[in-house]
Subunit: 459 residues, 2 copies
């Protein structure tokens, strides 16, 4: 079903103004990681607050120990209407190295229908298209079909340090029926996408201790277990012996929930280009767990990776040291319903079992997070499907993500509301890299999709 | 057979003078590694030269690009007499950390019949007891039973950088029938020892390369081979799967020469204290190749050790990086007749064979040296056995050494003469550590043993 005429006309008439306004926001170098940009980051918060006020929301800018959190509200929907929270962030990654940019990072420039600027896709453009979708309703009809809360933070690029506490402290005011986040990418140009899963994390440090101090490898080598060799042996037991990617930690897969044939079939239909993906990694060849496609390995299957190794002498040339200690950073990406606490227990038991004689190994958890998977059967997702089809003239696809977005779990847990991840970036968008861009077409279609979403949710 | 009366009397009468003279040498802080001590190191060279002149040798001090090489000669032995080269070094290790010394490192102090000073055992005391043994012959009889060359260098503690070239350049003048070196330790107090073997070395760097740059372990983990995990798998294949110390690199043991039952039986009779050795290492338990004793593992058997590991993130806390590269320093201690060049070939073939798909591994040799084993059947060693028995009233034992002394191979190769390693240090002597000491008794008995050796070789 096409978008209502009044909304369509509004978008058609105000497209270039929306773009010009976004450019104003993109010109503010709100780099949250750099204290010399603190004034810019505060200015970006005020800019977002003003843009919400201008379309008719009631706005408060909340100070934190870090950067401010902007909350705008409109609560005049008919009785029984849903309340939806839209989350986004106005801070950006540092722009360095500047010399690799084709145009200045804070001077938005359109080339080839791409808006090049730091923060264009991550996340200013995707946050602002929500503002413009709300404006279309409020400007044409003086009202919205749902109650709306817009929450924009300024610390997403530095770990959202104060967000969970803020949500917790304001849980009553932020209570809602759904959370909508646009901070991800579509699977391919023209292919609207709903992100349905995130992997969790269980991150450990494994320390192996042998001799009390580094020993001379000539005088002692052969008579004591070498901790670095012991560590290598321990790590090598974590995957099956034939070199496949299957993890052999006992009980590791016990809680992995099957995705079902429908999800796997849908995944197989996605236009995934293995060659392009391999080229993107620069690896000599792709490799992973037997019996699974690359996308399944990335989205559906847990992993066990070495993130770091350190032992003994690592400088230039040769030093004949038998190291006293060896260290590995090891992390597992988790899928529903795995839990980091249980994986920690299994990891400890495994390392204890395989640790060679003559050394001692300890496992220390450093970081953890639960995996997440959307319940795609609910009315929120049906509405999102229809809204995306309206704006893009094509049924959306369901995608996954191998990494984690911790705020998703925070919103869902604290507010007890389903989270819809619907993003308008594109592969190759250079988020966090030089020459970040947002598709101009997606910026405009994203507004229309979100305007359609409010209509669908108001039905 | 006891030492001749005239020599015994001379030693008895001149013992305290010899000690006082040694103390003068020990007071010179000839730390070859520190340029601020260059004048001290030169002064030590002159001191040694003068001590050789004083007993009747013709001496030259040869400048090098580093520290000088002192050569003293006495060539008036009867026709047909052997020529023996005595090697030692007058430079010492740095004394730091000074606060751990019980008495100042360059102020020799006797406690409990131990001469405490930097360089007391390594190697000034052992070099000077040779000077005193020669003096006994020359002072009492006006002659020596053999022609003598004394070569003292000042760069042993910094890798003997200019020695091999010097020997090569002066091969004619240094031509001899035997080389005698006192720069090692006796197996136990009262137990004179001939060091009969040194292990060689083949040292490599193994680099594993996967993706072109570090990747996000969430976005890519599971779909590409992790180079650090691949490196662990490669290293783990180098020993047998049951965790024993046996090396599984194909052909690795092909050139290992059997030591024979006699040598193994002698080794088993040495008063070796496993508990004390374990305590010395500080390892939770000793460990090594099945079927061999600790001493056999240290002296008779080759090893494969990891000397260093580096990959990805090694700082505090968690970083979810999938590293682009992983590096290991790996070295093999070799035993006769293994050769580093062949071990390099075997290592390359092994790594190529076991390298997992999706990564590339390279093996780069960094350092190598041949193992060495004395031919204990020759007349030099028979003379040494008798001389040691004369001075210590006990048959010497044959010992081995797990490390390498590169100059041994240089002398043997360039001068084509057998090398006798007969040392008078003791376990726990703290060479290279604070509170280095030399047994006063060994200093005196060492002189007598060497005086007896010249008698034996002159027969």
């Amino acid at each position: 079903m096409p978008l209502a005429n009044d909304l369509t006309t509004f978008f058609d008439n105000n497209q270039s103004r929306a773009r010009d306004e976004l450019f104003d926001l993109l010109r503010i170098p709100s780099v949250s990681a750099r204290s010399e940009h603190n004034a810019d980051t505060a200015r970006a918060a005020e800019w977002v607050a003003n843009s919400l006020r201008a379309i008719g929301l009631t706005v408060a800018v909340h100070g934190t120990k870090g950067h401010p959190i902007v909350v705008g509200e409109w609560r005049q929907a008919p009785p029984g209407a849903q309340t939806v929270l839209v989350y986004g962030h106005y801070d950006v990654q540092p722009a360095e190295p500047l010399e690799l940019w084709g145009s200045p990072p804070f001077e938005p420039t359109v080339r080839d229908r791409k808006i090049f600027a730091r923060g264009s896709v991550d996340d200013k453009g995707q946050l602002f298209l929500h503002v413009k979708a709300l404006e279309a309703h409020l400007a044409t009809r003086g009202k919205l079909p749902v109650n709306i809360i817009v929450l924009a933070e300024g610390e997403e690029e530095v770990g959202s340090e104060h967000l969970a506490d803020f949500i917790q402290a304001h849980a009553k005011e932020l209570a809602c029926d759904a959370v909508v986040i646009s901070d991800s990418a579509m699977f391919a140009p023209g292919l609207p996408s709903i992100l349905s899963s995130l992997r969790g994390l269980a991150y450990f440090q494994i320390d192996v201790r042998g001799p009390e101090t580094d020993l001379h490898s000539g005088s002692y080598g052969g008579a004591v277990m070498n901790p670095a060799m012991a560590l290598a042996r321990i790590l090598a037991t974590m995957h099956d012996a034939d070199g496949g990617g299957h993890i052999t930690i006992e009980g590791f897969y016990d809680d992995v929930r099957d995705w079902g044939d429908v999800a796997r079939r849908q995944m197989k239909q996605l236009p995934f280009d293995e060659k392009a993906f391999r080229a993107e990694t620069g690896s000599p060849a792709l490799f992973g767990e037997k019996g699974y496609t690359t996308l399944e390995r990335l989205w559906m299957r847990p992993t066990c990776e070495v993130n770091g190794l350190l032992s003994g002498y690592t400088g230039e040339g040769a030093k004949t040291v038998l190291p006293a200690v060896a260290m590995a950073k090891v992390s597992c990406r988790l899928v529903p319903d795995q839990r980091p606490e249980k994986i920690e227990q299994l990891m400890r038991a495994h390392v204890e079992r395989v640790c060679p004689p003559g050394v001692e190994a300890t496992v220390r958890p450093l970081h953890g997070g639960n995996p997440w998977r959307a319940d795609l059967g609910g009315p929120l997702f049906d509405a999102a499907r229809r809204a995306l089809a309206t704006a893009f003239d094509r049924e959306p696809v369901i995608t996954g993500e191998g990494g984690s977005i911790p705020v998703v779990g925070d919103f869902q847990r604290i507010l007890n509301a389903p989270v819809l991840l619907v993003g308008f970036g594109l592969p190759g968008e250079n988020a966090h890299a030089p020459n970040e861009w947002l598709s101009e077409e997606n910026f405009y279609k994203g507004m229309r999709a979100m305007a359609a979403l409010w209509e669908e949710l108001g039905k």
